[in-house]
């Protein structure tokens, strides 16, 4: 059989597995091996500041939006703080470029 075809086939299996099963499976393991149940209770938002109120309202009413916003925010904040710290480390003279792998 054509070598390119075999490589492509393996790649397809890998991508399919990652997309459908591997990530959820390993993620559940990270969380203790069990799929957690949904928390349905409503959080009271009276007396909260605007930032907290916004999050709590979204948590109570639009759980999908809450999940997407939380994940997106984590990603954005991670990149931003990471970028900032990278600059600071460079300023202090630490090298952050490619390394030669040595044992």
């Amino acid at each position: 059989m054509n070598r390119k075809f075999i490589n492509g086939f393996i790649l397809l299996i890998i991508l399919f597995s990652i997309g459908t099963c591997i990530i959820p499976q390993t993620a559940y393991c990270e969380g203790g091996g069990k799929d957690a149940t949904m928390i349905t209770k409503k959080i009271p938002s009276e007396g909260l500041g605007s930032f907290n109120k916004w999050w709590v309202d979204m948590y109570n009413e639009y759980r999908v939006a809450y999940a997407l916003c939380a994940t997106g925010l984590m990603m954005m904040l991670g990149i931003t703080v990471g970028f900032g710290t990278d600059l600071i480390l460079k300023m202090f003279g630490f090298k952050t470029t490619k390394i030669i792998h040595h044992e």
Binding site: T26, E30, G33, A36, G82
Partner: protein
């Protein structure tokens, strides 16, 4: 300290923001340096300081996701991520995790039939034995095998006798098609099925123990595949990032992410992760492995204490278990930073002297 008290509306508690920053920073350094998610440190740490358990894992996932993006990105820039190897290793993980989880379910049923918590006992003891054995092996490798290899190398270079094949070379010699090559990891040729089998076993352990498995994958990449340590760390973090993203999304959807706590922790973790990843540049592979061995030894000790607590019900042992893991993580974190600063300073001094 009251000014740092933060109200977390979703979890419904007040929590010290400095503590969250500190835990995040510590796990960030360790995660970036060892290539692990660090849930095994964060969850007990949050729990011991009074964070409600239903939100601990989800919040942990959220910050792990952000932190692993920082670490993977930086490791990628340093040339420490073998994307192809990372994806390939994941292909072996799926049936492994599934088989491990199925075995747990079987044991659960059998335990119910017998009338006691069979799973808890078997999982915890397996975890303890595995962590301690892995730590001992890594220390043995550092203190004995490395020295022996160096002596053999010197002796063999003096004589014309061909060198004995290492275990990794024997594994790579298995010619079971399709063969794969990973230029970045300097693996010229290895059978896909070998990788599949190794990571099937890693996945099995992961599924059986109910853990993310970063602490299994990293040594497997080094000792069985022959990946350089820094590359193993970066590649493992890439896998952690994918898990973390999915975990964050699903746990948030289930209402188990306390976003404010996750945000504060992430600030600490992102800074810590940068320092941890930078330290990989300044500390040699064997040094990373030795520190990792000590870290998992303490993790094993912490679980051992928890197991003794579950057998004897002596409350102090449970607290001690949390204290052991937090203290060892803190000390390790300081050690990594001190090593980073000393090595960076020495390198700068040498460069100045050369110029």
């Amino acid at each position: 300290m009251e000014i740092f008290e933060l109200y977390l509306p979703i979890a419904g508690i007040h929590f010290n923001a400095l503590l969250l920053l500190g835990i995040g920073f510590c796990v960030g350094v360790l995660g970036g340096f060892f290539g692990v998610g660090g849930a095994w440190i964060v969850t007990p740490a949050l729990n011991i300081f009074g964070f409600p358990m239903p939100y601990a894992i989800g919040t942990d996932f959220a910050h792990i996701f952000g932190k692993s993006i920082v670490s993977t990105n930086k490791h990628g820039k340093m040339g420490n991520v073998d994307w192809k190897l990372g994806l390939t290793t994941m292909a072996g993980t799926i049936p492994g995790v599934e088989c491990g989880a199925q075995l747990i379910m079987m044991l659960e049923k059998y335990g119910k039939h017998l009338g006691y918590d069979l799973v808890g006992i078997i999982v915890r003891w397996t975890y303890i034995v595995m962590l301690i054995l892995l730590a001992i092996w890594m220390m043995y490798d550092y203190f004995f095998i490395r020295k022996r290899k160096l002596t053999e190398k010197l002796r063999d270079s003096a004589s014309s006798k061909p060198r004995k094949k290492s275990f990794i070379m024997k594994i790579r010699d298995i010619k079971l098609r399709p063969m794969m090559h990973f230029n970045k990891s300097a693996i010229e040729s290895i059978s896909f099925w070998v990788i599949f089998l190794i990571f099937f076993l890693c996945g099995f352990i992961s599924g059986f123990l109910g853990v993310g498995g970063g602490f299994i994958r990293m040594p497997a990449l080094v000792y069985l595949i022959g990946c350089p340590t820094a590359l193993a760390v970066g590649t493992d973090l890439f896998v952690v990032m994918l898990d973390g993203g999915y975990g964050c999304l699903t746990y948030a959807f289930k209402g188990r992410v306390e976003i404010l706590a996750a945000l504060v922790m992430l600030i600490g973790a992102a800074i810590g992760a940068q320092i941890g990843v930078t330290a990989v540049r300044y500390i040699r592979g064997y040094g990373i492995r030795l520190l990792f061995a000590f870290m998992i030894l303490f993790a094993g000790l912490s679980i051992l204490l928890k197991q003794i607590y579950s057998m004897t019900n002596i409350k102090i042992l449970s607290d001690l278990s949390g204290i052991v893991i937090i203290t060892s993580a803190g000390i390790m974190c300081i050690l990594i930073m001190v090593k980073l600063f000393i090595n960076a300073y020495n390198e700068k001094k040498t460069q100045k002297a050369d110029s």
